[in-house]
Each structure stands twice: as structure tokens, then as C-alpha cells.
Symmetry: none
Subunit: 253 residues, 2 copies
DNA sequence: TTTAACGTTCCATTTTTTGGAATTTATGCT
DNA sequence: AGCATAAATTCCAAAAAATGGAACGTTAAA
């Protein structure tokens, strides 16, 4: 996990204290955080003054104070909708039995916002944060199909249509024709265009602001073609669409 | 309340975010914290890089991230404060003679923060794994009844109302009607809805932020219907309510 | 299309933080 | 009790970091 640096170092201390089994002394904490004692002294003093930490009755050890507990309840009470989204993804994986991911468009690439892997031994493991070119992925094509044409042309202009597999669409005219279909059907397929043996089905997640609907994210499942071919994967469309509806609700509320 | 200053200002921001109902934009946060936009930009960037905050899919708003939830559980699981709560639970068990537990809502499920068994005194069983669906447990229904309707709908939408016993409420309309009663009465019953032979009574623990009260945890007792039936268990209500008051006091003082 | 608001970058200035050394306080041992 | 030892605290000049006004892109609303 990313280390807390700079201004956040006292926050790292709070995290350390929360993980601790027993109250600890200044010297112990200074040693474990690898900072000089005067520094730790100041940090502890600040957190104590803030009411996040308090000293044990003997005055030599530090432990969490009520304000930290209040913060914890606040966090749980306001449980980020991202966790709710993750659960929705998990449910999709349970229902379709294949890996599922939530993506957004970032320039000419699609980035994985969240991802839940299927339990099959044979599976494609992407990780959260990884990126894939838009023109050869289901979600990417979906975004392009549903965005204003001017913007789409800009994205296309910046994309070099590189051949990644035998099925990759490298002709812009062919791609545009497919985008028109996708725009009509409201789903997109990746027919082994990015990676041989990998098929993918994506549906849009719309956000409504005022009277304008825009596709802000995409929900997709990925499967080895040996388990689900292009036709079979389409049977999962209803499940995906329903989940996308639920996901949209977490965005608009 | 003591103001967080100096190095702790980003921590104050985390507290603000935890208290927020909906994800907020940079401009809103800058205004509410009364700092220039570049400063807020840096703070948010630091917390985002640390994995404590993240942006909403549209990239324009910020909300809590999984690391914040982990921190919250870590704090609640921590000894000194949990010991105080545990003692209160023990007192309840002594008074009512039945098992008692403290729960928080986590998505569509209720998780046991602490539990004291009537048979085995002095036993702490914080099992991160022991979870129960919200729709068929006393505490779960309590949480749903007392949360903002929009959030409640989101939780309901995700809950599959599965029949676990003859008494499980699987009709959403019936459930909503009961939630209205619970909201009025400030207690909830589990009438053998989760497990045959097991009845349960739950009362809310409120946290007050400003003038807003929110139910952040629930205190409940469980009993075999043979020892306490639905009517008899209600005689324990005053004991529970008093203990809940005491627990709330440790949060709000 | 125009306009306004929002988000982001830049950088000289100001303000903190930092940590070695010294001082004070507490603890353990005989 | 008295000494030795370790921990906690204070001090302060050097070093590092945060700050925020101004300017620049970018996105959304009229």
C-alpha cells in the first residue's frame, strides 16, 4: 500500500495506532515509524490535542481517543458508494461466472476502475488501474459510439489503429460502421480484437444531469472464447443491463 | 470541538468527507473549509494518492475510498475503546440474561462489532466474518428504517429478499410498511425471520453531528423463542435503551 | 457560440517542520 | 535512599514544505 508521506504522516500514525494491540510508548512509536523522538513527540502532541489520541492513566503510553471512534463510525455510516459498486460487480460475477469490470474512458484509453475476477482457473487477470486502447475493447467502442460525434472524431484522430490480433479492426470506416450499430444496440462486443481468445461484452452506465444522458462508465464481462463464444456471451446481456441500472442509481441519487 | 490545525489539516478534511452525505466537488470543499482552491487541490491529491479518498467515476467529485473503511474497522476493533463498549454489553447480558451484540451496517449486511454470550462470560468475539443480511435481522431493519430514504432504496435494491425461515419477510411492500413502524417506535424485532427459534430485539445508537442525528450502530439481544417470546422480549426494552444511551454518550459527550 | 465557473499548474514567499544536542524527568537496581 | 540509566521533553537554527495569488486550460451552462 502506498506510504503516507508529507503532510499525511501524522495520519499514518493514526493508522498505526489503530492497528496496535496495546498502547505504545513514545520511544516504541518513534522506533517503529523510524523518526527522531522530538518529531514523534510533536506528532503525538498534535493528535492528543486534537482529541484523536489520549494517554493511558500512567501518562506514558498512547491509545486511541473518543474522537477517533467517532470518526470511524462516521466513515462506516457514510460508506462510500464505491464499495457498494464493488458488491454489485461481485453479484454479476456470481451470476454469469466470468470476470467483470467497471471502466471509464480516459483520452484514447479505457481504464479499469474496479474489477472482480471469476473463480475459474483459466481466466484473464487484469488489475485495477490498467489501461487498454479504446478502439479495440468493448467498453472503449461503447464510449466512442455514445459520445458526441465531434468528440468521437477527436478520439479517433488520436488513436493509431494498430493490429493487435487477427480480428483487430484497423480500418476507420469499418470501425465507424460498427460504432453506429453499437449506438443503436446499446451494447458492444470485443471479438478477440485486443487479445486472441478473449471475448468481451460491455453495456453503458448513464448519468442523467437535467435532461441530458451521458455514458460516464461501462460495465463489462470478459471470458475466454472457449467458454463463451460471441453468441453465447450475449445471453448474459440482461444480467449486465440490470446491474448497469443499479450502478447508475449509485451515481445519480 | 478542538480545531485541527497545522499538519493535521488534511485529517480534518478526512473528517469532513466522512460526515458528508454526498460526494463533493473541489470548489465546494474549498469553500466549506475556507481555503484557496490550490490548497484544497493539493490536500485532495495527497489523500487520493494515499488511497483514502477517490474520485467518482465522472472524475469531478471526491468520496471515501476503501482504505478509509479499513481504517474505520481498525479503529473500532482497537482495544481501549472496544473494552469500554464490551463492558457495557456485559452489563446488559447480566441484566437480561441473554446474548447481546453490537452491530454496524456494512452494505446490505450487518456485521458484529462485538458480542457477549449469555453462557460464556468475558468472551470477545469480534469476527469480521460473522455477517447477517440486513432485511431479516432486527438491527438490519433498524438501520434501514432510520437511514435517508434514498440510501434505503439503494440498499433494498441490492438485497435479494430470500426466504430463510417461514417468517422471513420477502415482500418488499410488507418490509417497507414494517420499516415505517420501526422508524416510529425506535426499536426493531426479528421474529424468527433469520433463524427458526431465534428472536431478537434491537435499539439504535445515535451519533449527533451538529443538529443531525444518525444511527451509526445498533445494540441487540438475541434469545431462543422458548425462553423469551416476541412479547416477553419487549420487557427488556428499557434495559437496552439505557445501555444504548450510555454507548451513544461515549460517542457524543 | 459565448460566457462563466471550475479545475489545474506555476512559483516566489512565507511558514512549518525537522532533528541534533542539551535538559529535565522518571525508572530500575543495589 | 542513592546512583545509574533510560525515557521524555525543550530549544533553536537549518532545511524543507505548504501556501495562495495569478494565470492558464477545460468543461459545462446559457
Amino acid at each position: 500500500m502506498n506510504e503516507l508521506t508529507g503532510t499525511l504522516k501524522p495520519l499514518a500514525l493514526l493508522e498505526t495506532m489503530a492497528a496496535l494491540e496495546h498502547p505504545a510508548t513514545l520511544a516504541e512509536l518513534a522506533a517503529s515509524a523510524d523518526v527522531p523522538k522530538p518529531t514523534m513527540h510533536r506528532w503525538l502532541g498534535a493528535l492528543e490535542a486534537a482529541g484523536l489520541l489520549q494517554r493511558t492513566p500512567d501518562g506514558r503510553r498512547y491509545e486511541l481517543a473518543p474522537r477517533a471512534v467517532r470518526l470511524a463510525f462516521s466513515i462506516l455510516n457514510n460508506r462510500p458508494s464505491s464499495t457498494i459498486r464493488h458488491e454489485i460487480l461481485q453479484r454479476v460475477v456470481e451470476q454469469v461466472g466470468e470476470s467483470c469490470n467497471l471502466t471509464v474512458l480516459d483520452g484514447t484509453e479505457v481504464t479499469y476502475l474496479d474489477r472482480v475476477e471469476s473463480q475459474w482457473p483459466l481466466r484473464i487477470t487484469f488489475q485495477q488501474g490498467s489501461r487498454v486502447p479504446a478502439y479495440c475493447s468493448a467498453s472503449g467502442k461503447l464510449f466512442m459510439a455514445l459520445m458526441p460525434p465531434a468528440k468521437r472524431d477527436l478520439v479517433l484522430q488520436q488513436s493509431r489503429l494498430e493490429r493487435l490480433t487477427d480480428n483487430t479492426v484497423v480500418d476507420q470506416q469499418v470501425l465507424l460502421a460498427e460504432l453506429a450499430d453499437i449506438r443503436r444496440d446499446r451494447y458492444a462486443l470485443d471479438r478477440e480484437e485486443f487479445m486472441a481468445g478473449l471475448v468481451c461484452l460491455a453495456v453503458p452506465i448513464f448519468q442523467t444531469k437535467g435532461r441530458i444522458k451521458s455514458c460516464v462508465a461501462a460495465l463489462a464481462i470478459q471470458a475466454p472464447v472457449t467458454r463463451l463464444n460471441q453468441t453465447e456471451i450475449l445471453t448474459k446481456l440482461p444480467v449486465l443491463q440490470e446491474a448497469a441500472e443499479t450502478l447508475a442509481a449509485t451515481l445519480n441519487e
